[in-house]
Symmetry: C2
Subunit: 331 residues, 2 copies
């Protein structure tokens, strides 16, 4: 029987606050370049007071991926927690307006924490340095997982960042059980090399036991398998999961399935804002996969999608990705 | 004695919610193309539920102008009301981060209305159709006007849209009195032809009595003087105020001072989103004016500034306008 959802994503629900600053700013305010760092509300308020004029655009890693798949026309749903506040309304609107189902119960209006936000400092080289106040999204728990929805998904897509919350481990376990129990498959993104540092064992366990498709980039892959040998790490990963899709910045991406292997090239583009590149690679890849394309095509669609996202500020698509993929010969 | 502020603006404090839709959308949801229409909260909620994924960027007509002058390095302040909510915090941040002084008391967290927002529907031709929920900004009153600040301004800049509120008429009167009493000057923007329809008499009175510099576009000018003869209207306006700066879309702008007259050409640009074109024309013009440039230069700086704004989504500058003006020979 056909399932209602092609991909259901679970992750940190976030609104991005994007501002452009130079490298001196990062140094001055102690922002680590190019990675995601968790911050508390005080730090969020302080950092926000120092950045220049900003734009607010819905974000959240897995939410970006799901928005991307929905943008392509895929049948998607998303699970992640916002509060019943203005940023929460913006997040929910943008995801639903893209065509994704989003029904996670909002934290009430008088909850102590607010909707999560990510202060993204974009430097002139296009690199982004992310400062994440999790807010209520930290409290994603098994209660937020509807097993019926998970059983109705061909794939679930788990965001590594959400491993930062213990209750969310249980939420992931519940989602995996319901999805796999109904014949669905599990994909995971490692999210960030420092996230891998924090949760290597937990990642390793879920990779070996449950993951069918692993998304990561080169740094995450090396951190995951604690080696400098990229090729060895890729092979190790391929021995543990059915499909590995590992991005490698301007070198494109490596796709592995058992002994088979493809190297897809990155789409040349001027990087304006790298925010969401990996998310949209996964979005394009997954959309192509659930629509029956071969893995090399999946990789190419992922690369074109990622290139579109980094050509402008913000992590949600601004061009019709399907037409773009056709134009660029990926479809 | 040198005044602390070169320009103090007063207007509707707004966050813009920008989404791209086709003309069919406007028809389907009864949105009048190319103008500003006032909507209530129910309509705002309904319209928001129908638009696609959006971006949130601080707006407000006079606030855009003040942000523009501050961006150029001018000494500015702004008066306009937001609520102590997340959108209010975004509005305040973006203005202050641009270097403008903004101290208007926020409506309290438990106020019945919210921070004003403008749902801007951008069509493929770059035209914008604005749907404004005023929220707390409607309640700008004389209490919000600090006469010391107004007396400390070389120019005040009044937003015609704010004539929609009776208490704001009094606020404007108070600001004008304090500013003029200390030797300052008054500029006014007519904002919108339908705004002119609503407040022609009030505009006429303030123009004749107090305005030194009038900003408007062709349609507003014709509506103001109830004529089809653009040239006659320009001359009429020039007989009533010291300086007239009237934009005329792709035909550039007409500047009049007494019997003298200049026609400055528009900067050629692909229109992505017309939101804020007039606001930034006024911003560039005023910045040049308070820095002692001749009126023709003021007009050219205005045109280059407007062209930058309409080349991207959102009404706040994304490029260094001063460098842009130098490159394009306006400065």
């Amino acid at each position: 029987m056909k399932k209602n959802f092609q991909v259901v994503g679970i992750g940190n629900a976030m609104v991005d606050i994007l501002a452009t600053e130079d490298d001196l700013f990062l140094e001055r305010y102690g922002v680590e370049k190019g990675i995601m760092q968790l911050i508390d509300m005080d730090r969020a308020v302080s950092l926000y007071s120092h950045i220049g004029p900003a734009k607010e655009i819905s974000g959240g890693s897995a939410a970006n991926t799901i928005a991307g798949i929905a943008h392509f026309g895929g049948r998607t749903a998303y699970v992640g927690k916002v509060k019943d506040d203005q940023l929460g309304a913006i997040f929910a609107h943008d995801l639903r307006a893209q065509g994704a189902v989003y029904e996670t119960q909002m934290a009430p209006h008088d909850a102590a924490d607010e909707t999560g936000r990510c202060i993204v400092v974009v430097t002139p080289d296009g690199e982004r340095s992310m400062n994440t106040y999790l807010g209520v999204t930290e409290f994603l728990s098994p209660d937020d997982i509807d097993p019926v929805q998970m059983a109705d998904a061909e794939w679930i897509y788990l965001e590594g960042y959400r491993f930062d919350g213990p209750a969310s481990h249980e939420a992931f376990a519940k989602a995996i059980k319901a999805c796999k129990g109904a014949g669905g498959k599990v994909s995971l993104t490692l999210s960030d090399p420092f996230c891998v540092e924090r949760h290597r064992d937990a990642f390793r366990e879920v990779i070996r036991k449950d993951v069918d498709l692993l998304f990561c980039n080169r740094a995450e892959m090396l951190s995951m398998y604690q080696t400098d040998d990229f090729d060895a790490a890729l092979k190790m990963a391929a021995s543990e999961v059915e499909i590995v899709a590992c991005t490698d910045a301007e070198n494109g991406a490596h796709i592995l399935q058992g002994k088979k292997r493809w190297h897809v090239l990155a789409t040349p583009v001027k990087v304006v804002d790298a925010t969401g590149a990996g998310d949209m690679f996964a979005g394009g890849f997954l959309w192509a996969l659930v629509n029956g394309y071969d893995l090399e095509t999946c990789g190419n669609v992922g690369c074109v999608s990622a290139a579109e996202i980094i050509s402008h500020i913000g992590a949600r698509p601004e061009t019709n990705l399907r037409i773009l993929c056709e134009k660029q010969g990926a479809l």
